[in-house]
């Protein structure tokens, strides 16, 4: 049991600059760090639960947070969920056995949520190498394809606002307009966008916004957000109608799609709450993050063979590089594909997936210019040490 001793529970990235693609937006704010111990026990938020649902709590003010978050996203109301995946599942559970159109860069949980709800899925193709863009107009084409095959337009259209593979920022506004024209409900997965950049559902004509607290709202996992409008909230947040046939018990306030009372009872919701003012502020500085991202691309591409794939210019801090030169080194290196991971770690940089050299993803959100420079210098230094040319 010694392996579980606190002395042995050290985080591998401790003390290093972490550029792991999924980590940057979930790093806690100082405010969230201050409340960690006080709210760390299991059901810590449930000390004064009077209404039987976490989203209705007044102390701590989860009910108010729920409304503030909804307004921040330009929506009417919201619920906290066990991650963005749960939020997607909750939406689709209200459209079981229906049809879903989604972009071909969607996260696997978009597919599995549909599968679990017996939905028929139609993909919107992407442009392929090297941009992998999702053309909004293809949503209209896919809607027509769905009508040809099923006799009616789809129930839902899901767009991954920023995809996890290339960090492309999709044109949600245009997709929203197309959905409105076709009267198809628009689900926007903002796991990599809301919380770091401005997202407004009214402007984008969304029926549902799905968000990830631990990915982009500086919160402890697992927590997601499902925001919607009052027109649809009754359908998605429908309450239990069941009655025990012997006991007569009923659970009239429990919302089915979030398991009655959403499982975010302690640090997940409390860190999201403590970080929320900081999140509201930080989205105003998104342009600076883009400036840093584009600088980072320029510097990385000074290394021979390193090239950004995905859309150009870069509109997000999550990026995907291909690096045939690093891959060639890995093929001959004693540590094979792990050499880049180890070399970066030696230089204080963590987060490029171990084993990846031919292409790798990084996220530089929230890094200071100084840290960003350290990351670039680390990559360049490794390249030079292995005889790969680096431009001045």
């Amino acid at each position: 049991m010694n392996r579980y001793s606190p002395n042995n529970l050290k985080r591998p990235s401790k003390g290093l600059i972490n550029i792991h693609p999924i980590q940057r937006g979930g790093i806690l704010t100082e405010e969230a760090r201050k409340i960690l111990l006080e709210w760390a026990d299991g059901y810590s938020v449930c000390d004064v639960c009077l209404e039987g649902r976490v989203d209705l709590l007044r102390n701590p003010p989860v009910d108010e947070l729920k409304q503030d978050v909804a307004e921040f996203l330009g929506m009417d109301t919201a619920r906290f969920t066990a991650g963005a995946r749960h939020a997607k599942f909750a939406v689709m559970s209200a459209f079981q056995r229906g049809t879903l159109v989604l972009d071909s860069l969607a996260h696997y949980t978009s597919y599995t949520s549909a599968e679990l709800n017996d939905m028929r899925v139609f993909e919107v193709p992407n442009s392929g190498y090297p941009d992998f863009r999702v053309d909004p107009e293809m949503y209209a084409e896919t809607f027509e394809r769905v009508r040809e095959e099923t006799g009616s337009y789809p129930d839902l259209a899901l767009l991954t606002h920023v995809d996890y593979r290339y960090g492309n920022l999709a044109d949600a506004e245009r997709v929203g307009k197309i959905c409105e024209e076709y009267e198809v409900l628009f689900v926007l997965n903002t796991a990599y966008s809301s919380g770091v950049m401005e997202v407004n559902g009214k402007k984008l004509r969304t029926a549902f916004i799905v968000a990830s607290g631990h990915k982009s709202w500086a919160a402890t996992a697992p927590i997601g957000i499902l925001a919607t409008n009052y027109e649809l909230s009754d359908r998605v947040f429908r309450t239990s109608k069941m009655r025990g046939d012997w006991s007569g018990r009923a659970f009239t306030k429990k919302e089915l799609a979030v398991f009655g009372c959403s499982p975010v009872f302690g640090l997940p919701v409390m860190t999201l709450m403590a970080s929320f003012p900081g999140v509201v502020e930080r989205v105003k500085h998104w342009n600076e993050e883009i400036e840093k991202a584009r600088w980072f691309v320029r510097e990385m591409e000074k290394i021979e063979g390193v090239q950004l794939i995905g859309e150009r210019p870069k509109n997000h801090t999550l990026m995907h590089f291909e690096s045939p030169a690093f891959h060639s080194i890995a093929k001959k290196h004693r540590k094979r594909g792990y050499f880049l991971y180890h070399e970066l770690k030696k230089r204080g940089v963590f987060g490029v997936q171990a084993g990846m050299t031919k292409n790798f993803k990084v996220n530089i959100y929230g890094l200071s210019w100084e840290d960003l420079d350290k990351v670039v210098s680390a990559f360049k230094d490794i390249a030079e040490n292995y005889g790969v040319e680096v431009e001045d």
Partner: protein, 307 residues
């Protein structure tokens, strides 16, 4: 973490040790029967010429030759594998587990598992003697004797490993050398199509293939649709976005020049259906010619700016 636990195999792996001296036998068994029994109960069984009750096994395991002369083997110890030095390790399991083992094996040794079987002298010959002689693992689908008398279940088959290979696999398991990936499949390209491009020097990336062709970084991408055409890409870097845009706009060759900030992506879409054509003998040569064209056009584009 042991082999058994890693692959979640119900029965113990069995160590088989050949001896040139005669040891006292334990009970009376067919070889296959003894192996199954040891795998299930964990007991130790010693077989010699006299308590081994299967004539086929006597020959295949080397107790006697095909001409009924005395062979080199005088005894065989069959016991649960506990990292002891032995000749062969036998694993009794089902096809689903063999599938997982074969995937691990390929990742570790960079070669496929092969099965040579004939339904005769199976556990003794195919999974043990053959493995010992050739130093390669083998999968046996058993023989009627094993199925009817040996106590094997309908879904069970046997894989035999040379000791060194089995020990190496256990070491790799312990050191977590072979990582399980997420299990998501990012495409549905046929394996032999991927191998075809690999043979040309390209590696599969998430969505496309990349590699060096005649020293130039080249990418291949299959545009799926009614026809599954092949896009060939190579990139030319310029000093500025303006320079790249001007170069792309003034380009008049056989490719498509797409400016992307300070890069131009030199592209050619080969009008063939990759899925229908890739097994044809001249596929590689045809694609090679197309790649040469793209590389040459990229070179011209770069030179046009220098000029």
């Amino acid at each position: 973490m042991t082999f058994r636990r890693y692959f979640e195999i119900q029965l113990d792996p069995v160590a088989v040790i050949f001896k040139k001296e005669e040891l006292e036998g334990t009970g009376e068994y067919r070889f296959c029967e003894a192996v199954r029994r040891v795998a299930e109960t964990g007991e130790r069984i010693v077989l010699n010429e006299f308590n081994l009750t299967c004539a086929g096994a006597l020959v295949s395991l080397g107790f006697i030759t095909e001409t009924a002369e005395e062979g080199e083997t005088r005894s065989i110890i069959i016991e649960p594998y506990r990292k002891q030095k032995c000749d062969v390790v036998l694993v009794v399991t089902n096809p689903e587990r063999i599938m997982r083992i074969s995937s691990f094996y390929r990742a570790l040794f960079d070669e496929e598992l092969h099965a040579r079987f004939s339904g005769e002298n199976a556990v003794c010959g195919e999974a043990t003697a053959l493995v010992r002689v050739e130093g390669k693992p083998n999968i046996s689908f058993l023989c009627p004797g094993a199925r009817e008398i040996g106590g094997y279940r309908r879904e069970e088959i046997v894989i035999g490993f040379p000791y060194e290979m089995f020990a190496r696999m256990e070491e790799a398991i312990k050191r977590e050398e072979i990582k399980a990936l997420c299990g998501c499949l990012m495409d549905d390209l046929p394996r032999d199509l991927i191998e075809k491009f690999e043979a040309m020097g390209f590696d599969k990336a998430t969505d496309h293939f990349m590699g060096f062709y005649n020293g130039k970084s080249v990418k291949l991408y299959i545009f799926k649709g009614d026809r599954n055409t092949l896009g060939i890409f190579t990139s030319v870097k310029f000093k500025s976005e303006d320079e790249a845009t001007n170069a792309a706009e003034s380009y008049t060759g056989d490719c498509i020049a797409i400016p992307r900030e300070n890069w131009v992506e030199m592209t050619r879409v080969v009008e063939l259906d990759v899925f229908e054509e890739y097994r044809k003998p001249d596929f590689q040569e045809r694609i090679g010619r197309e790649i040469d064209t793209v590389i040459e056009e990229a070179r011209k584009l770069r030179m046009s700016v220098r000029a």
